[in-house]
Amino acid sequence: MADFLQQVVSGLASGGVYALLALALVLIYRSTGVVNFAQGEMAMFSTFVCWELIDRGLPYWVAFFATLAISFAGGVLIERLVVHAVSRAAAITVVTVTIGLLIMLNGAAAWIWKGEQRTLENPFGTRTFDVGGVVVAVQDLGILVVSLALVAALWVLFQRTRLGLALRASALNPESSRLHGIRVSWMLALGWGLAAVLGAVAGMLVAPTQGSFDQNLMLPVLIFAFAAAVLGGLDSPLGAVVGGLAVGVILNLVGAYIDFFADLRLPAALLVILAILLLRPHGLFGRAAVRRV
């Protein structure tokens, strides 16, 4: 039982990071209907920016918040310069553009930071404590707390502020939103900026857990974030969080308890998610689009 709980706890910790990146995906999907393949690479790039700032002598938390600001500006810029240009094109065109961004950001990071392994400080320290036989790392707990706090902050932004209402309205009915005086195209850019910030946090939290990192840091995380977003429902922020945590736990349990799948953790987890999707085709919390004919 303690072993089982141990697997669940460490699954929740990695799930927190998946949740953050999944939330970023959901943010962009809700506002623009685009699945952003470059989300992971945006996060990776932010992580490098943070590393660079620390390398140049900034204290960790200064670098952390500076990175958030830079990431926000970067996300807004990407939407304005690139994504906006294809906003009226078919889905495959927009997806291809985000794939182009993925390739470009990955290459740019390899170019700028020479493709070498870097290490990023762990803000939570390496202490662990024991809860009834289950070892909990402060770092894991920190990741989980930060993730949940961000989710709560986003919820407040979206549900309790005028700006959040405008963001939601722009995503749901852009035409009508413009008639109400909402600058819809800026709302979309804002959505990308916020998504970039979430990704930056995910990257800066996950990098220390890997020991060292290079430009391929976020590729596997992106895959799990996709799985999490789909599992929770692409249009549901709550779903992204639950999905992220669930994916973390499923991955751990499947690998640990089913022998056949020991070296098939990833396919097995994907299979579980597919099975859930077959029961709920729009994810656990997603809404089926109601269509009038």
Binding site: A90, W111, A227, P267
Partner: protein, 354 residues
């Protein structure tokens, strides 16, 4: 007007065939293998187009069906003796044969891939839009590790080597004797084989486009509910589209195995599936002939980027930037551009993209 259109079509196809026939005599050996690779990607993109272009289902998992085709060909070519000689132990119940000539494995690879496509098409019936796209992405992600898992037939990470197989036509240094007494180098042989099959499959795709089936698939893309209301069987047509497009991918994979004399799980990473979608977007969703441009893009752009700079990361930056720029300038791909230019002349020649 109708006669004019038909004439343009026939003329276009004749020109296409003429170019394909003449190319080897104008280019080097090495180039011939690259042009064969273009043919292979062309086949795969044609197949993806049947699913994505007509049915509107974005698939990010077609590399997996290519892998199915490639491994089917490799395993059948080696047969039980070849596999066991390589230290593998395929299960007794698996009908791997005693080694089969490479060309004969192509239709079998096609059928096995089509079957795999149909199987995947079943769960896909429940899903739609981005959920389905990401489910196919999951298949692509899982492919390499699944191949490694069944290493008793697939050879695990090392893959299967076909270089020494007596069933590989021509091998690399031997000339290939073709009917009519002529001999071809291996690369030229591969080129002709690939493009003959590509042209045949192109004609099939064209026929599908202009058939009842093609209209039904496009009806599903444009409006599922209206299509059903008009009597289009959704389940059957979607499964068929998956299966057909997987069949094309299987043929492409089979040819890829021959051209590389080997198969490895590493040859079918997620990137492969993503590249096919990129090729389709560049060629133009719902187009046919312009899809060649997508295949050319996939083969030559990475090389060209490498030629410009060898610095780490720079080729990727160039590749990504060109791709983004291309999508901004030509959001409907090369096919969309051609439609706009030739539109007044041949208003119905190319299918409408969405």
């Amino acid at each position: 007007m109708l006669a004019a259109r038909t004439a343009i079509r026939v003329l276009g196809l004749a020109l296409f065939v003429a170019v394909v026939v003449v190319v080897p005599s104008r280019i080097s050996e090495f180039r011939a293998s690259e042009f064969a690779l273009i043919g292979i990607f062309f086949i795969a993109i044609l197949g993806l187009n049947i699913l994505t272009g007509y049915t509107g289902v974005i698939s990010l998992g077609h590399g997996a069906f290519m892998a199915v085709g490639a491994y089917t060909t490799a395993i059948l070519m080696l047969g039980r003796p070849g596999l066991e000689a390589g230290g593998l132990s395929p299960p007794d119940w698996l009908p791997v044969g005693d080694g089969m000539k490479d060309v004969y494995t192509i239709p079998i690879a096609a059928l096995v891939a089509a079957l795999a496509g149909a199987l995947f098409g079943l769960p896909a019936l429940r899903l739609s839009g981005p959920y389905l796209a990401l489910a196919t992405f999951g298949v692509a992600v899982a492919t390499p590790s699944v191949i490694r898992k069944f290493d008793s037939v697939t050879g695990g990470s090392g893959g299967l080597n076909l270089f020494d197989s007596p069933n590989l036509t021509g091998a690399i240094f031997n000339a290939v004797h073709v009917p009519g007494g002529r001999t071809l180098t291996f690369n030229d042989w591969l080129y002709y084989l690939t493009w003959t099959i590509a042209l045949a499959l192109f004609v099939v795709a064209w026929l599908i486009h202009h058939s009842r089936l093609g209209r039904a698939l496009r009806a599903i893309r444009d409006d599922e509910i209206a299509a059903v209301a008009s009597g289009v069987g959704l389940a059957w047509h979607k499964t068929l589209a998956f299966s057909l497009s997987a069949l094309y991918a299987g043929v492409a994979g089979s040819l890829l195995a021959m051209s590389a004399f080997s198969v490895q799980p590493g040859a079918f990473p997620v990137d492969r599936s993503i590249a096919l979608l990129v090729g389709l977007a560049v060629g133009g969703l719902g187009s046919l002939v312009p899809l060649v441009a997508g295949a050319v893009f996939l083969v030559f752009l990475p090389q060209w980027a490498q030629d410009l700079s060898q610095a780490p990361g720079v080729p990727a930056v160039i590749y990504g930037a060109v791709l983004i720029g291309l999508m901004i300038v030509l959001p409907t791909g090369v096919g969309g551009l051609l439609r706009r230019v030739l539109g007044p002349l041949t208003s119905r020649l190319y299918p409408r993209s969405q």
